[in-house]
Amino acid sequence: MIPVDDYLFLSLALFTIGVIGVLTRRNVIIMLMSIELILNAVNINLMVFSRMWGTVDGQVFAIFIITDAAAEAAVGLGIILAFFHNRETVLADEMDIMKW
């Protein structure tokens, strides 16, 4: 029997790594991938609690989250592609034209 805590620790670890990735990496694609990692960590939590309560609601939410991730990836990568075609960079700290 694996206690819920173990899953939560795993989820926390992935979440933290994802947050660090989003906050520190310059490459936008890696930032997006880190966000996927965060979403994944969330999914683990949902799954665990779904299992714990014996319902499938958590799984349904996980499906929604994956849907969301798919949409986010499509749009995000589209933006990155368009940005790359225009500015030839994928670095987040060079994308500051919205400042003013």
């Binding site: 947050v19 987040a92 500051d96 919205m98």
Partner: protein, 688 residues
């Protein structure tokens, strides 16, 4: 009386050529050659129709009132200024067209001969490149010339004056890829500048002395100013204006450009350098005759210069071998005649000669062009001969023109020339003698030209021989018309002594009225009539002698001219090289001008550039450096200080708003930490 239509719309006459010139120069490249021809010749023809209309409407007016002006618009509004004598005057100039008998004659000549030459050109230029360009320039010239003769004031006249000069330059240099042509163009332009400077000074002086630049106001101004005959101011004005006239009309010492101008296409030589532009000087002197008549010294100068030029050019013409050069010197010579006429006060005779000269000299040039055309571009008379059968129309028309210029009874030249000689005889026998002798020489060299070209044995190059052909109709028709005019042109002013009534002279009299009424004595009684007849016979005799002499030398004893040339070696060389005038000018003016240029260049480099500009630059740098220090530390410094203060104050806000998504995310995390901490805090309290 209603305002006559053509007079009211006199300004349309120059407008038509201007419009077509604009079309040609802007769009001509895209137009087909025949469209260009129709447009250009057509516009000149319309101008001619308008001119004829204007002429007849002018004639329809009563004798003394034949004067009409049309103000198109103000150009220079009234500018008040002080004249030399201290009176206040207004400097006014407008685009005002004036038509009186003189102008009427001029526009008829210009548009009529101009139209014929246009027609001729369509044939002559048919195979040349830049067809549209040629016609564009030609029409532009027509415009300028018409402005010149229709001008009511000096300023507007000057526009036309310079306009014809420009077109002359452009057309002389029409074959600009040929260095000699472009040089000739430049030469014409520069030499004319000398004359134009005089002309311009004359205008200034005129406005300063007389207080007006309007022609029609000069007479009243002279009256009002109460000038005496021989007034030095008036003499000065007249001489200055004559400098301009001499430049434009190729008189000594400014004649040198005209022979070189023969580099232009032959129709150009005919139109500009024979019929119209070069006569502008004569026209201008005539137009201002009121001043001249009060300046007898100036008039004598005019007459003398004219006479000397006539003789001088004629001698050069005798030895030239280039057919167009001969005609060019002949033109110079004939222009000398016209000035002679003006100088002796026979302004009407001058203008009359101007008109007949336009006919026969235009014809001569056109015929010469036809010859050149037939000989595929050959201009050297030594390589011609025996062409009379090959190109009969050209031959006969040219012969008529030659007879006319030689002054054979009853051709046009006879009438006008004898009118001048008659007047000259009355004034000064010396002048008459020069003119008389020149008439003989004219006959000689003109028939020399005819004989060398059309008679004797053929000296044409073998290759060219095959291609000799009569010119196309477009060229021949103008020849025939001009030949007709050359024959009958004299009739408009047939001398009273021969049963005529001198219509033309009388027609012009209102313009030069003063001359005939008071200042110059009228011809004296019947005795003078006999004198007139005698003079005519004398000149006829000399002319016939000249012709016979030419026949003897160039038909009968063709080896003689060379011998004579050898015998008179030094003199021949001198004349053949046109008295070394060009070389003299080179030595005196051109090279000195170049020296001056070099000296100025040195001055520019070392004094102006070195001391002036560089020194000023150094000074400026020094000052600006000081100023920069001031700007940087004091002016900018204060501004920057303000900016720095704002910068410091805005630091917290700006640090947050850096546009980087990751910093914003960092704040999200900080917020999350805060919320969690707060939550823990609450939970802690809830527990306890």
């Amino acid at each position: 009386m209603n305002t006559p239509y053509f007079l009211e719309h006199i300004w349309l006459i120059p407008l038509f050529p201007l419009l077509t010139a604009a079309v040609m120069l802007f769009y001509g490249r895209k137009l087909a050659n025949n469209i260009v021809s129709y447009l250009c010749a057509g516009s000149v023809f319309v101008s001619f129709i308008f001119s004829v209309g204007a002429f007849f409407q002018l004639v329809a007016m009563p004798q003394g009132e034949r004067f009409f002006t049309k103000l198109l618009f103000e150009w220079v509004p009234a500018v008040p200024y002080h004249m030399f004598d201290g009176r206040l005057a207004q400097f006014v100039a407008g685009w005002e067209f004036q038509i009186d008998p003189l102008s009427a004659v001029m526009i008829l000549v210009v548009t009529g001969v101009g139209f014929l030459i246009h027609v001729y050109s369509t044939g002559y230029m048919a195979l040349e490149g830049g067809y549209y360009r040629f016609f564009g320039y030609l029409n532009l010239f027509m415009f300028a010339m018409l402005i010149l003769v229709l001008a009511n004031n000096f300023l507007m006249m000057f526009v036309g004056w310079e306009g014809v000069g420009t077109c002359s330059y452009l057309l002389i240099g029409f074959y600009f890829h040929r260095k000699s042509a472009s040089d000739a163009g430049k030469k014409a332009f520069i030499v004319n500048r000398v004359g134009d400077a005089g002309f311009l000074l004359g205008i200034f002086l005129c406005s300063a002395v007389l207080g007006t630049v309007r022609f029609s106001d000069i007479g009243p101004a002279l009256h009002a100013g109460n000038f005496q005959k021989g007034d030095p101011w008036l003499t000065a004005i007249a001489l200055l204006l004559f400098v301009g006239a001499a430049g434009k009309s190729a008189q000594i010492p400014l004649y040198v450009w005209l022979p070189d101008a023969m580099e232009g296409p032959t129709p150009v030589s005919a139109l500009i350098h024979a019929a119209t532009m070069v006569t502008a000087g004569v026209y201008m002197v005539t137009r201002t005759n009121a001043i001249y008549q009060l300046a007898p010294k100036a008039m004598y100068v005019v007459a003398l210069v004219g006479a000397i030029t006539a003789l001088f050019a004629a001698t050069i013409g005798v030895v030239q071998n280039d057919i167009k050069k001969v005609l060019a010197y002949s033109t110079v010579s004939q222009l000398g005649y016209m000035f002679l006429a003006c100088g002796v006060g026979a302004f009407t005779a001058g203008i009359f000669h101007l008109m007949t000269h336009a006919f026969f000299k235009g014809l001569l040039f056109l015929a010469a062009g036809s010859v050149i055309h037939a000989l595929s571009g050959e201009q050297d008379m030594r390589k011609m001969g025996a062409l009379s059968k090959r190109i009969p129309v050209t031959y006969w028309t040219m012969l008529i023109a030659t007879l006319a210029i030689a002054g054979i009874f009853p051709f046009a030249g006879f009438v006008s020339k004898d009118l001048i000689l008659g007047k000259a005889y009355e004034q000064d026998v010396l002048l008459w003698a020069i003119g008389y002798f020149t008439a003989g020489m004219t006959a000689f060299y003109m028939f020399r030209l005819v004989f060398m070209t059309f008679h004797g044995t053929s000296r044409v190059d073998h290759e060219v021989e095959h291609h000799i052909h009569e010119s196309p109709k477009a060229m021949l028709v103008p020849l025939v018309i001009l030949a007709g005019l050359s024959i009958v042109g004299g009739l408009v002013s047939w001398p009273e002594i021969l049963g005529g009534n001198s219509h033309f002279v009388h027609f012009l009299e209102p313009v030069v009225g003063m001359a005939h009424q008071s200042r110059i004595e009228p011809l004296k009684g019947p005795s003078s009539r006999i004198g007139e007849i005698n003079l005519m016979l004398m000149s006829e005799g000399l002319v016939v002698l000249g012709i016979l002499f030419a026949w003897y030398l160039y038909i009968k004893r063709t080896e003689l001219p060379a011998k004579i040339a050898k015998g008179l070696n030094g003199f021949y060389e001198l004349v053949y090289h046109k008295y070394y005038v060009d070389e003299l000018y080179d030595a005196l003016f051109v090279n000195r001008a170049k020296d001056l240029g070099l000296a100025l260049g040195w001055f520019d480099t070392n004094v102006i550039n070195g001391v002036g500009v560089d020194g000023a630059g150094w000074l400026t740098r020094f000052v600006s450096r000081a100023s920069m220090w001031w700007d940087t530390w004091i002016v900018d410094g204060s501004v920057k200080l303000g900016a720095r203060i704002v910068w410091v104050l805005s630091l917290p806000v700006r640090l947050i708003q850096d546009g980087l998504v990751q910093s914003y995310m960092l704040f999200i995390v900080i917020g999350l930490i805060g919320f969690l901490g707060y939550y823990f805090y609450l939970a802690h309290h809830a527990v306890h």
